[in-house]
């Protein structure tokens, strides 16, 4: 076959010296024999000796010129039954002989030439000649009804097929030779690697890309596009499959997913999100880049390949999220569901840049992703509604000892607190879903609709509240109504109030401590809760201390301007008894919030101590100092203060008076 046109000798001999051990390379130089350089002579003689059967080599340049002329001649000829076509020149046979030998050298069974290592000029020569043979075949076929033409055509057809077959194999081998180690779709979340640089190929050096492109061009222009694309598809699919493996992704069936326990599922979801993001943000864009470079100049083939590859993998990946969305819902799954929801939502913009507008496969993938996302959205909303429902209908019959914070209150508030970390997503999700639900209001059960209609019945303020806010407020309301119910489990009305205060305080503190939760619940809600708490406090004061204060009331103690000693004795006795009793019970009650505890003590002190002090000041002198005073005036105001400070400690009840 034709060697390089300008200065092939030095080049190929250089190569030959470098790679003398490669027989195929050695043979290549055979073509450069028609040389005029004397330094080539020895070499040529040597080879001629090696292969005695070798005839006088034809002048390649001359031969190819003749071929080109013949092609030009044929293309100007018209096919006509009456006319004999031009005589086939002898040089065709020479050319066929050369080409056949050349291809056989390249495509040798035991030691074929590697396309990736072929010097530039030899590659160009080979590609040019294959193109020439193709052109020649097309020209010859015009007159294929003439047997001489048919024979020649057959000869070249076979050579062409062999050459293209060699190209196919080399294309595949080069693709297969992807350097996995150098692939940088990394698993480390380095933000700088988020967007691959423009010249970024998964595992192939730039010069190989160019060589692959030349093969693609040769194959497609000779009508081997299907072969070429199938090879790419198979090899890259394998490579991307390996990428899935490296990311730790398992191809679970939907059935597997339904049967897994939640812990295992959580791990799988984390892996899925990682894999999915990696695919949509890095792997697919670089694959697109790779296809576009390798198939440069053949846009429709490249787009089509990208479509089918992407489809195969995204359907696989979307399938997992579908399977997740189908699992039985429960509170604990909320957060992972929102993660998956976010990943699906982010896919759409990530893919937008990779496909042309209105692409069918793109639309299909988007609609699948959206469908699954909506389903997850529905599930997420159901989880909130069920939480609301569950709290409302929960009817445990045991009261928390000491009126402390109920575990359910803690659970719910922590849960909502976590949920609010996803506030932005959830806000959008609720809004979007509300729209869907309005359009499709027959789908869900009647109570869901009822729940959904509620907002319009509320007051003015509601109109500015988002559906997510409303939902959270509803969950809070159900917590309230549940607490109301639970508070009735206490026989002691004061303890009931302490329970409400404890829980109310806990809720308020939790909400205030979380900026997200606080902004979702809003200031009006917070004001309302604070005022509720104050009213519980007041009720408690009345309930527990009202009767005590009555003992200290001067009214009814004086008869005709004189203090009635028996009544006074009675008053002191009942004060002491009541106070003892209160201290005994209420120091076992528990207020964990220090501020609330101290507020309660301070308010009780300021209520009781001044009253007691002035009562004492006015009436204690009535008693005979000594035993009588000691008997009735059991406490000094300071003692009262000390004992009040022992309330709500959750102690197992110490006796007043025994202390000190």
């Amino acid at each position: 076959m034709e060697p390089d046109s300008s200065s092939p000798e030095e080049n190929s001999s250089e190569k030959n010296d470098e790679q003398q051990d490669q027989s195929a390379e050695g043979e290549i130089t055979e073509d450069s024999k028609p040389s005029d350089g004397s330094e080539e002579k020895e070499e040529a003689e040597k080879e001629a000796n090696e292969d005695e059967a070798d005839q006088q080599p034809p002048d390649v340049v001359k031969v190819t010129d003749e071929i080109d002329q013949f092609i030009a001649l044929l293309s100007s000829e018209t096919v006509d039954d009456d006319n004999e076509p031009p005589k086939i020149p002898e040089s065709l046979e020479q050319y066929a002989f050369l080409a056949e030998a050349k291809i056989a050298n390249y495509d040798a069974t035991d030691n074929p030439v590697k396309w990736g290592e072929l010097p530039e000029e030899l590659m160009t020569a080979l590609l040019e000649n294959v193109a020439r043979i193709h052109k020649l075949s097309v020209s010859l076929s015009k007159f294929s009804s003439h047997s001489e033409y048919a024979m020649t055509l057959n000869r070249f057809g076979e050579i062409l097929q062999r050459a293209l077959s060699f190209f196919e194999e080399e294309f595949r081998l080069l693709l297969e030779d992807c350097d996995v180690q150098n692939i940088e779709y990394s698993s480390d979340p380095d933000p700088e690697k988020e967007l691959p640089p423009v010249n970024y190929f998964p595992g192939y050096p730039d010069d190989i890309i160019a060589k692959l492109n030349r093969l693609v061009h040769a194959l497609i222009t000779t009508g081997h596009e299907t072969e070429c694309c199938q090879l790419y598809f198979l090899e890259r699919r394998k490579a991307l499959d390996a990428a899935l493996d490296r990311l730790g992704y398992e191809k679970n069936s939907i059935d597997d997913v339904q049967k897994k326990n939640w812990d295992a599922m959580e791990r799988d979801i984390v892996t899925w999100i990682k894999t999915y993001k990696e695919f949509s943000k890095n792997i697919l864009p670089s694959e697109r880049n790779l296809i576009e470079s390798i198939y440069a100049g053949h846009e429709s083939a490249s787009l089509n390949l990208f479509r089918i590859l992407t489809r195969a993998f995204l359907i696989q990946l979307l399938n997992f999220s579908e399977a997740v969305a189908m699992t039985k819902r429960s509170d604990e799954k909320l957060f992972k569901f929102v993660d998956v929801y976010e990943a699906l939502r982010d896919l759409v913009p990530a893919l937008d840049g990779l496909f042309p507008a209105d692409d069918g496969v793109h639309e299909l993938i988007k609609s699948d992703a959206t469908l699954t996302r909506c389903k997850l959205g529905e599930t997420i909303i159901c989880i909130f509604r069920e939480l609301e429902c569950k709290i409302k209908t929960e009817s445990g019959k045991t009261a928390v000892p000491g009126g402390a914070v109920h575990p359910n209150t803690r659970y719910t508030l922590n849960y909502l607190n976590l949920a609010c970390e996803y506030k932005d997503t959830l806000e959008l999700l609720f809004k979007e879903h509300q729209r869907i639900e309005r359009a499709d209001s027959n789908r869900t059960g009647p109570e869901f609709q009822a729940a959904n209609n509620q907002p319009s019945n509320n007051n003015e303020e509601v109109t500015v509240q988002s559906p997510f806010q409303l939902q959270l407020i509803k969950v809070m309301d159900s917590v309230d109504s549940n607490l109301e119910g639970k508070s009735k489990l206490y026989k002691d009305a004061s303890l009931s109030l302490i329970f409400l205060m404890n829980n109310g305080r806990y809720i308020l503190q939790k909400v205030k401590a979380s900026p997200d939760l606080k902004s979702v619940m809003g200031d009006p809600w917070i004001r309302k809760r604070s005022s509720d708490l104050r009213s519980y406090h007041k009720s408690y004061q009345r309930e527990t201390w009202g009767k005590v204060l009555q003992c200290l009331n001067a009214e009814g103690l004086t008869v005709h301007g004189k203090v009635s000693k028996p009544t006074l004795k009675e008053r002191f006795k009942s004060f002491n008894a009541m106070f003892d009793e209160i201290h005994k019970t209420q120091s076992t009650w528990l207020v964990t919030d220090e501020q609330l505890q101290s507020e309660l003590r301070v308010s009780i002190s300021s209520l009781v101590i001044p009253a007691y002090r002035s009562f004492m000041a006015r009436f204690s002198s009535t008693f005979t100092p000594g035993r009588q005073t000691e008997k009735y005036v059991k406490y000094q105001p300071e003692d009262i203060e000390t004992y009040i400070d022992e309330l709500f400690d959750g102690n197992s009840g110490s006796q007043p008076g025994k202390k000190k």
Binding site: D107, T109, M151, N154, Q161, R172, L234, I254
Partner: protein
């Protein structure tokens, strides 16, 4: 009759009737009638399938499968109308639905996996189609020369190897893809036989290696039991009808399409004999079962009509290629032209029918997901209703 019209009129009728009758007690007669009607419709559909023999709709061809999937989709809509529409949710937590309901749900999940496996299998058949098309293009050239023969032989041998590779577990295959005949025209098919396997498997591995379509079918049919005694006239019946049609459809698809691991596929699963639709289903099942038994020994291609024909033509064309000497005799050429024409027609049919079938399978997938979700919601609601009334 187009399925959608049929289905909507049926749905309307049921819905109107349900709205008229508010008391659940008074509903029983209507319900019986609905169930009967449902069975009758299923019977009609299956009878149509069993009798279809004309050329455009050959048994086990893709067109035939499209009719089957249509039947499945219709059956599913009617089933939903009978079972779910305006149904009191508490029925789902009481016998017999508390038992047969979850079984159905489990079958649905497995059917979803099979739908996915079939989706991949359709891609694979499409891939085969492309190989066959290359051969057609090559052999349609005139004159047929050694180059065309080499090209056609290469792709057809690859095609046959892919087809043969299904069902056969190769313990060790090299990383080679179909591009065999690696070095020159001298290498033979047998020499390169080890090369295709791995890539084929990449085309077809939708799931973990342990997943087997045959096992899924087995599991789906394992607890498929005909309702007895009082249950014959209750909600267990529509569930049974639906399950039978679902299992049958999935089984037939698996038998026909090259999906992951079909070794040990059942040739038969029990179906109640005395129900009006059962006869058609049993006869279809027997026909397919027989075919499978015949083919399984050869352990290859699957029952899809087009692919079987493709395999036959490809084999014969490869034989022709092996014996080829240029120039080809006139008589031989005529014979080959016939075969190439047939292959081309098969390709055309595949081109026309594969994509719509894939869409239908996707539709089945989405429908099953949706129904399953709706039943799950009803069960959930029932839980609350029962919980709050307790």
């Amino acid at each position: 009759m187009p399925p959608t019209d049929h289905q909507s009129s049926f749905l309307n009728r049921i819905s109107i009737r349900r709205n008229q009758v508010t008391s659940m007690e008074g509903n029983h007669d209507q319900e019986l009638e609905e169930i009967e009607l449902f069975q009758k419709h299923v019977a009609d559909r299956l009878a149509e399938l069993a009798s279809s023999t004309d050329d455009s709709n050959a048994f086990l061809s893709i067109a035939w499968f499209r009719t089957l999937i249509d039947a499945l989709l219709c059956c599913e809509s009617e089933f939903k109308a009978v079972l779910i529409l305006d149904r009191d949710p508490t029925h789902f937590v009481k016998p017999p639905l508390d038992r047969v309901g979850p079984e159905l749900q489990d079958r649905c999940v497995k059917a979803l996996d099979i739908c996915n496996a079939i989706t991949y299998a359709i891609d694979l058949v499409h891939y085969w189609q492309q190989l066959a098309e290359i051969a057609v293009t090559s052999l349609e050239q005139r004159p047929i020369g050694d180059g065309q023969i080499a090209r056609a032989k290469k792709v057809l041998s690859a095609l046959l190897m892919f087809i043969a590779d299904d069902n056969k577990e190769q313990t060790k295959s090299t990383e080679r893809s179909w591009s065999f005949g690696r070095r020159g025209s001298g290498s033979t098919v047998s020499k390169d036989k080890d090369r295709g396997g791995k890539s084929f498997r990449y085309m077809n591995l939708a799931f973990n290696k342990s997943w087997s379509a045959a096992k899924e079918i087995q599991a789906m049919s394992a607890n498929l039991v005909e309702p007895r005694g009082k249950e014959v006239n209750g909600l267990a019946m529509p569930v049974y009808v639906m399950s039978s049609v679902l299992v049958f459809s999935m089984w037939a698809l698996v038998a026909a399409f090259p999906c992951q691991e079909r070794n040990g596929l059942l040739t038969h699963f029990p179906v109640a004999k005395n129900l009006i639709w059962a006869q058609s289903l049993i006869s279809l099942q027997e026909k397919i079962g027989e075919e499978w038994k015949k083919k399984e020994k050869k352990a290859k291609v699957g029952l899809l009509e087009e692919v079987q024909r493709m395999e036959k033509v490809a084999t014969s064309l490869v034989e022709f290629a092996d014996a080829f000497k240029f120039p080809v005799e006139e008589e031989k050429l005529k014979e080959v032209e016939e075969q190439v024409k047939e292959l081309s027609e098969i390709c055309k049919k595949l081109e026309e029918d594969l994509a719509p079938l894939q869409q239908q399978i996707r539709e089945v997938f989405h429908r099953l997901v949706r129904s399953r979700g709706e039943i799950m919601d009803l069960v959930e609601q029932a839980g609350y209703i029962m919980g709050s009334s307790a």
